[in-house]
Symmetry: C2
Subunit: 341 residues, 2 copies
């Protein structure tokens, strides 16, 4: 019986410990489902494979969606053809962007489908013109905000997201340094994608090579791997650097094993909860905001809406002990030393 | 000889390992300096003590300024009185905000002085109306952006910064949960400062108590301590939470000892370099940005400015192996499975 008469599905057979193996997946066949009124039957033409799917194999999911249930088809974005329609909005033969998962056929109620129109390469709707490309676009342009002349670093440089990140950064006039695994990928990043440089993370001493490749520091680090790449990036970050966090593939296989370090757990939370974390040094803000602050605070104090408690220590010679106490939390309110009356 | 005829200075005698001790400081006396033309002589009235000073005791400084040199006076903000002036902008008897450091007298060229005018409590210029209050204002209002009904968590709740953070958050209509050391401070935070709740971090099981005190999760966490408070906060963060990072006093004494974990090193970099780190899940952005993306990317592809490389795998049955390869970095470009032609 041909694949076109049965629905082949790849289901989640077991929850992987670490890197998935072939045994974690199961190929079965089912009858092709029949669309009910208002439904369409989709034939999968292209299935997207993306790193986030590793998180979907864990019971808890990747943090923003529940995991795939055991025995159910793996989820995934697809370019699908409408092969039967009981929804007047969709015609047989039409190509749509869908979430049919790892199977030949799927039913849809239509609300999650995007008509693709005529595309020369419909599979691009899963890549550069789809979710990965969109991830690069929003992450780099809206969060990373590269400016001409700035240095942008992206790992997985030839991957679906990284390759677009780097090219968009070049379009915006930035200098782009990629990181990839192997000499062939690095050559490709420079020669085909137009990166200024690309480093092979399999070679030794990534830290020193990244420092040499970024003589003006790093202004935008598009975070998609974590691990030793982040180790190498941190010392090179410039003032006011931006880090869009889109994932950290280096750790996807360790989360369930409880081996993730505290930094990875923090990144996982930043990602899953869309957290914005921003360091600030107050010295930077006097020119723009100090007058507002003095006006507002003075008013709030006068109105009794803000209470200010001081912990006054008498005598300069008491400063060391008072300071040590401050570091131990022994103070109560703002510590000031009355040096002279 | 009275303190008014000599300049007592507290200098950095040794670089502390961990918590400073009295032996890391040295009290000496020097002749009172004479102002040159264009200078003023300042008499310290109030000296501010602040946690950032711990970082100034390390050779490398806190990350945004060099450390104090051995044998030099500790740096610090002061409320000082002009006692001699060879700068026409300043009059004897005038009070100014200055950076005179841990000493009775200091010279200034005038450019770092802010006249204080008539203040009922001039020491407040070092606290709620000065740098700590300004830190709370910018960090909470400009970065944390609390909205009415949101939950704001701040540690060191009765400290110079935390006490203002919490009160500002209440002014903005947020629910405020503080964390402080000891029952007296917690009572003060609720009864005097008006926090909705305050937890004693010395009592056991902070995680469970914080979860109970934040039934709607946490929208803004004003980071000033790190450590176990951050551990307790992370699982409770709501979508789109904001974390202004102003410091992490729990770790100030471990940085030189090389005991800081990777998360603390990350926070230290985020702080010192004023980094903005932001997690995003692309699903959130389709409604607002997908049309822009499709328009821009289509144009850039048509112009040949963006190259899209695909790694096409043939056959649904190949999906598991291709996916495992993707997690290992074996792919070259975007991975799609051609399921049917």
């Amino acid at each position: 019986m041909s694949a076109s008469r049965l629905n082949r599905r790849i289901t989640l057979a077991a929850r992987p410990q670490g890197l998935p193996t072939a045994r974690d997946f199961h190929l079965d066949t089912q009858p092709i489902p029949e669309p009910a009124d208002g439904q369409v039957l989709l034939r999968t033409r292209f299935l997207s494979l993306d790193p986030y799917m590793r998180g979907m194999m864990d019971e808890a999911g990747p943090g923003y969606a529940p995991g795939v249930r055991l025995g159910q088809p793996m989820v995934g974005g697809t370019v699908s053809e409408v092969v039967a329609s009981r929804d007047p909005r969709f015609e047989v033969g039409q190509f749509v962007l869908a979430n049919a998962g790892w199977q030949d056929y799927a039913l849809s109620g239509g609300s999650d489908l995007t008509p693709l129109g005529q595309m020369a390469r419909p599979s691009l709707a899963l890549g550069g013109l789809g979710m990965p490309g969109f991830t690069a676009y929003v992450g780099l342009l809206d969060i990373g905000e590269p400016k001409p002349g700035e240095t942008v670093v992206v790992a997985a440089a030839t991957g679906a997201v990284g390759s677009v990140v780097g090219q968009l950064a070049k379009l915006k006039g930035a200098r782009v340094v990629g990181i990839a695994g192997g000499a062939a990928k690095c050559r490709h990043a420079v020669e085909v994608l137009g990166f200024d440089a690309c480093l092979d993370h399999r070679e030794p001493d990534l830290k020193a090579r990244l420092a040499a490749a970024c003589p003006d520091g790093i202004d935008v680090y598009f975070e998609n791997v974590g691990g030793e790449v982040l180790d190498a990036v941190l010392p090179l970050l410039n003032l006011h650097a931006r880090i869009p966090v889109c994932g950290f593939i280096a750790h996807y296989n360790e989360r369930d094993a409880g081996t993730a370090d505290k930094r990875t757990q923090l990144l996982a939370t930043v990602l899953a909860r869309r957290v914005r974390m921003q360091g600030f040094i107050i010295l930077d803000h006097y020119a723009t905001r100090f007058a507002d602050f003095r006006r507002d605070m003075t008013q709030w104090i006068d109105e009794g809406r803000i209470v200010l408690v001081e912990d006054v220590v008498d005598g300069l010679e008491q400063a060391p002990e008072a300071f040590i106490g401050l570091l131990q939390g022994r103070n109560f309110g703002k510590v000031v030393v009355r040096v002279a009356d």
